[in-house]
Amino acid sequence: MRSDVHPAPVVAPTAGDALPGDGDAPTPSAGLPGPGSARRRRRLTRGLLVALLIVLSVPFVFPTWWMVSSSLKPMSEILRIPPTVVPQDVSWAAYADVFRLQPFAQQYWNSLYIAVAVTLGTILVASMAGYAFARIRFPGANALFVLVLVGLLVPSEVTIVPLFRMVNSLGLIDTHWPLVVIPIFGAPSVLATFIMRQFFLGLPRELEEAGRMDGLGRWGIFWRIAFPLASPAVAAVAIFTFLKSWNLYLEPIVYLSSRENFTLPQALTQYVDAYGGPMWNVQLAATTLTVLPVLVVFLLAQRQFVQGLAHSGLKG
């Protein structure tokens, strides 16, 4: 039925079980079974556990498959019962409609350039602040750091009303300014500053000494030595900052009102027919175009993604 999940081959554990299973059957109570039957039982348990993993994968993997396959179905097929897992007659019409009904390319560009600008800006602001808080001793450093850390305590929803009034009084409603400037300098970058500071605290001072001997000033040491060494932390910050901006929903719907200015998450919900009902195949085609590029990058750079996001999850 759910054809996208192929049962992984249930291979017997290699190298004669140097890694004994925590997945043994619970009680070894009834006497000692012979070595052959123990191995058979262990193999069976491991097979069952893999089967369980395959079943559990379905709700994680199937929606993505369903999104892609439904986006390729004509309207007549998309709600058919019984459902077709693979499209019977593939139609690309929905993809044409995505661009016909909304300025989707423009919206795509909006999301992309906002996310890139926010990411670059955050890296700059946060690595400078993180470095200074970790390495330079100046009067008031601790107090100022605590002041910045308040940003970790304030969910963006709490300040949305005053920020909306602020943006409104500056005449910047329906522009991208609030979506770029507030994340770079405000609460979202505080987490990045915190992570950068933690990283620089752990960086051996000797590395900087060499630079000082060579006559580098503070800025030189930061740019030429500390910042390049911080690339793992920068990668983590870049990944969660980009994704956060790319996925932002509340702020765009509060600040933006015209279609040419919409970002992707906002645009995706706008594919509705004259009665307000969603045009599923078009909506799913647009969704596919939004999801797949990020998914491909994730598959290519999995380690960085997992580490970067786990980092932000813990420190948040």
Binding site: P13, W66, I81, V148, V161, F185, E209, L295
Partner: protein, 310 residues
């Protein structure tokens, strides 16, 4: 490692009064933190004070009046059944989410820690929704959960008449919770996996020699050793769950009735649909206090956890 009083720049001699080089270093320090500090003041602290100030006012946007009203908005909150419902909805959502999320994350982490074939692939599967766009993921599930959508379609082929998941009083919130669990459980799974891998192999081995079965070892050794992580992950999940907004907006629009109108969605409606900025500000303050208390508990927990580890 930091004693705040020590002078900077190890290249020079420590003196009582800061020399020119030290002052120059200070200046560089202030310059480097300036964007972040000024930004935090302008976009976090000032708005935070402003929202508290707004919450003490009767604010009519259409008539353009802004009148000091003392604690009227807070009195109104106490008597507002809509707010009470939204607090109940948030509570239901948070508790349901944390229970499902943490137990599923733990199950997945334990399974992935068994060195079974294909573990890396499964880990990729479970983590992939974390990187998918939240609205996109929610739209796909919304399509699956429609009355005539995929899930009921598959159920129909089995001869089962599925409910209208997103429109039923009993099922709507459950559906929102489940969609959110699959979206983010991969993150908690990774945190648990790291904790599981730090459980010393020798203790397990000793218990095995003493004849403890797998379940017994899990309950008596693994679980106590990773319990600080479980607590930490639970609090993080609850704090995150209070900010749920896009899922509600896309899946249910707060309905049916107001059964899925959680606190943030209620706040959004008051501010941007009904133009009740004063009242919405009071709700914002309430949200802030709740998150603040939970975060302080989390920090306290982590302090103890770190202490235990050392």
């Amino acid at each position: 490692m930091s004693t705040p009083l020590a002078t900077a720049a190890p290249g020079q001699r420590t003196t009582r009064r800061p020399g020119a080089a030290t002052r120059r270093d200070w200046l560089v320090g202030y310059t480097m933190i300036a964007p972040q500090v000024l930004g935090a003041v302008a976009f976090v602290l000032v708005p935070l004070v402003t929202v508290a100030w707004y919450s003490l006012h009767e604010w009519n946007v259409l008539a353009n009046t802004f009148v000091f009203a003392g604690v009227d908005n807070y009195d109104r909150m106490l008597a507002d059944p809509g707010l009470r419902d939204s607090l109940m909805a948030s509570l239901y959502f948070s508790i349901g989410l944390v229970l499902l999320n943490v137990s599923l994350a733990l199950l997945l982490a334990v399974l992935l820690n068994q060195k079974l074939p294909g573990t890396t692939t499964f880990r990729t599967f479970f983590f992939s929704p974390v990187v998918a766009s939240l609205v996109a993921w929610t739209i796909v599930w919304s399509f699956l959960l429609q009355d005539d959508g995929g899930i009921n379609g598959f159920l129909a082929t089995l001869g089962i008449q599925g409910p209208n998941w997103l429109r039923g009083e009993g099922t709507a919130m459950l559906a929102v919770i489940v969609v959110q669990v699959f979206k983010n459980v991969g993150l908690n799974m990774i945190l648990f996996l790291a904790a599981l891998q730090s459980v010393p192999e020798e203790i397990q081995e000793a218990a095995r020699i003493d004849g403890a079965g797998a379940w017994r070892r899990f309950r008596s050794i693994t679980l106590p050793l990773i319990s600080p992580t479980i607590l930490l992950v639970s609090i993080l999940t609850i704090v995150g769950s209070l900010e749920v907004f896009a899922q509600i907006a896309v899946l249910t629009g707060g309905g049916p009735g107001n059964s899925t109108t959680v606190l943030v969605y209620y706040l959004y409606q008051q501010a941007f649909r009904f133009n009740e900025f004063g009242y919405a500000s009071a709700v914002s303050v309430l949200l802030f206090v709740i998150v603040l208390v939970l975060t302080l508990i989390q920090w306290q927990t982590r302090k103890r956890w770190v202490f235990d580890e050392v």
